[in-house]
Amino acid sequence: MKFKIHLCLMLLLGLGLVSCEFDNYDEPKSMLEGRLVYNGEPINVSYNDVSFQLWEPGWQKKTPINVAVDQDGSYSTVLFNNTYKLIIQPFQGPFKSKTNDVTKSDTILVEVKGSQTFDIEVLPYYMIRSAQLTGSGNKASATFKVEQIITGLDAKSVEFVGFYTNKTFFVDRSSSNNIASATLNGADITDMNNISLSVDIPAINPAQNYVYGRVGVKIAGVEDMIFSPVQKINL
């Protein structure tokens, strides 16, 4: 008797679940992806530090969608079809936002209709050119050039340049993302076109005969650094 009642209850519950309409919206399906670029070149930034905001109009509550930019300057996010406002917040990233022609401000309108690629043009303070990373034994060295992009009134000086290496693909200034690093203060740089740095790689456990590395520029008064692409360095 008891058993039957339980069975009935279970059945009722099951029926209830079946008839439940969970959500009245379809899930977002349009993939928006792209990169932060300067003249078509991607801006390499530190891991999980630089982000921008997408604001979707039409909702009662206004909460931004924070989109994190990956190390190589790429991003991707899944959205509803709509026109989004894209804002790079002030002081985010090692660059300045460009004034958008349509909105006459730093807001960019992004019309999402199905999956698409959308590159965001920004104006970096500096770019790193021709970075060459080499390794041998327990030493890794880097030579590179630093090119100043923003000059004139808005120009900012170099606080320091750094060479970072890590055993994984995530390489930047954060202590969890490097095992060895070397820095050179901006004042000590004699030739921006010929900077070299080297680091001693500590013992890696478990042993591996390669590290990942990249060089970066810290700009005075700007929190986020700009980097060269991550490279694998064979030791």
């Binding site: 206004k62 002030p90 002081f91 200034r173 954060s174 202590s175 969890s176 690093s181 008064g221 929190e223």
Partner: protein, 628 residues
Amino acid sequence: MKKKKYISFVLAGLLTLSYGCNDDSFLDREPTNILLDEQVWKDESLVLSVLANLYGRFPDFQTIESWATFTDFDEAFASAFGEYGRHRNTEYGYGSWGFWDYGYIREINLFIQKCEATTALSETTKARFLAEARFIRAGVYFEAVKRMGGVPLILEPLTYDYSGDASGLRYPRAKEYEIYDFVISELEAIKSTLPAEVNTKSRATKGAALAMKARAALYAGSIAKYGATTPNVSLPNGEVGIPADKANGYYQTALTSAQEVMTLGYSLYNKKPDLGENFASLFYDKANNPEAIFVEDFKLKSGKVQSWTLDNQPRFQSEEQQGGRLNPSLNLVQSFEKLDNTFAPFPISDENGNLIHYSNPTELFAGRDARLYGTVILPGTQFKAKDVDIWAGYLRKDGSIVTSGNLGGQADVDGDGQNEQVVGFSGPIDNLEFSAQTGFYVRKYMDPQVGSGQIGTRSEVWWIRYRYAEVLLNAAEAAFELEQPALAADYLNQVRTRAGLTTPLTTDEVTFDRIVHERKVELAFEGHQLFDMKRWRLAHQVWNGSRISVQDLTSNLGKANKVSTMVYGLWPYKYYDPAKPGTFDWVFKIVLPSQVTNADRFRLGNYYSQIGDDIVNNNPKIIRNPNQ
């Protein structure tokens, strides 16, 4: 069957009862478990208990009731399993240290409104209650502006009219300096109403109001001055950031208010001849303490007790099977000066890298600022007249180390087949919670009373929010910034003399680094560090996210912007020389606790805590804080 009958009987009874209930007075009864407004506002002692409730909710970020918050920066290591994460993270969350409690502010405003309306209290009592509530409100807004920047300034209880439109309750953020101005002017307005009683500690007094005013003005002044070094940390309308030209005005206010406190009869605590012990007892001595100005008090057997001593007592001979949580870092310990006013790392090895031998572990720490002894329990010292027993093991002449993974563990050192104790009963043992993993325990605020370390008793030592030494340091800093170094030196030297530094600083020696250093050592574990580093805009330089080596750790002592992102320890070892059986010397090694895996990183967006999306959604007039 019987049951059914019973149920119907009860139901019938209930029905009859409810039928008979048409008398209003039957349902409309005075509640017996709460007091109504009109009852409270008839009775002075009931009003006082409402006020006590408001006092009891006064916000602090770091206090003796939250030991783990002291390990967030570089003052200490958290020797407790659940808190190791504080040393493994890199960044601080943008929401950290946030404060947004308009429920509390509304209740203070309600109290003020009702107190103003009441006729049942005598004029003097009423005036004092009102001034106290305004003191609490000023303190809460000060706390809010320290953490969030300018916040909406609400000075009356707001009430929703259920019209479906709450937009009338939406207030924009005030400018940062407007909040500071409000705090300063409120405290100025109420200071004369409050009693100028030196021995009233847990209620607002004239001294408390002026001390808070001095601190607030100093904060505003330094944000105006040093905010210029971080132009990114500001908002265009001034919700964050104070114009630089206001700095001197605030510094002047700070100096004047601090000087006013000096006329009220407070003085530095100086009851004991031993200066180290004197500094320690300044925090636990509640009888006629001339230094404490405003405190949060505790009382045994009243329900309001605190567990600082229980949490942090030396593990060896502690009163419970716990304690030892907060381990002061070598970063802090080594920054206490030598008695000739110079800085030096501890001499643990000579220029050739050979370890220096000591006959006694306390020798290494001798000849330093007495506040070191009063702040930190060092190896070789005592707490509650019992040895703390901190030593990491035996170091043999061949360089091998004999130690154990258990507190007071045993092993054979000299090869005679007999096991000896090879590690202290308080550790240090790496990765073992409650052991002194940095080699140190905390002494400040530790209660020497028997029972303070028992779960069933705990401690009634108070938490001092404002004390006279800080007022002196505030005055010194304000005077220094106003280019009156002689005055600054005088105030600094008063505090330093009490610490045993008898050679006074000359006016030339009073530098910004000195001011920063003095606050660091005098006010360690008192909840000042974060807010000091924020207002000087030093936080992102000192906690910059890069690893520090032993070389980095031991250089640049006394520099305000010295990088200090990882907490180190200093372990004493007994040196065993087989040629001299039965005797041993002491040597020391600098260690990085294995749980300290990452460096602290304070980002520009941490200067002002994040205002939650829910708050911004409910009130679109709220501007978000910068760099987040």
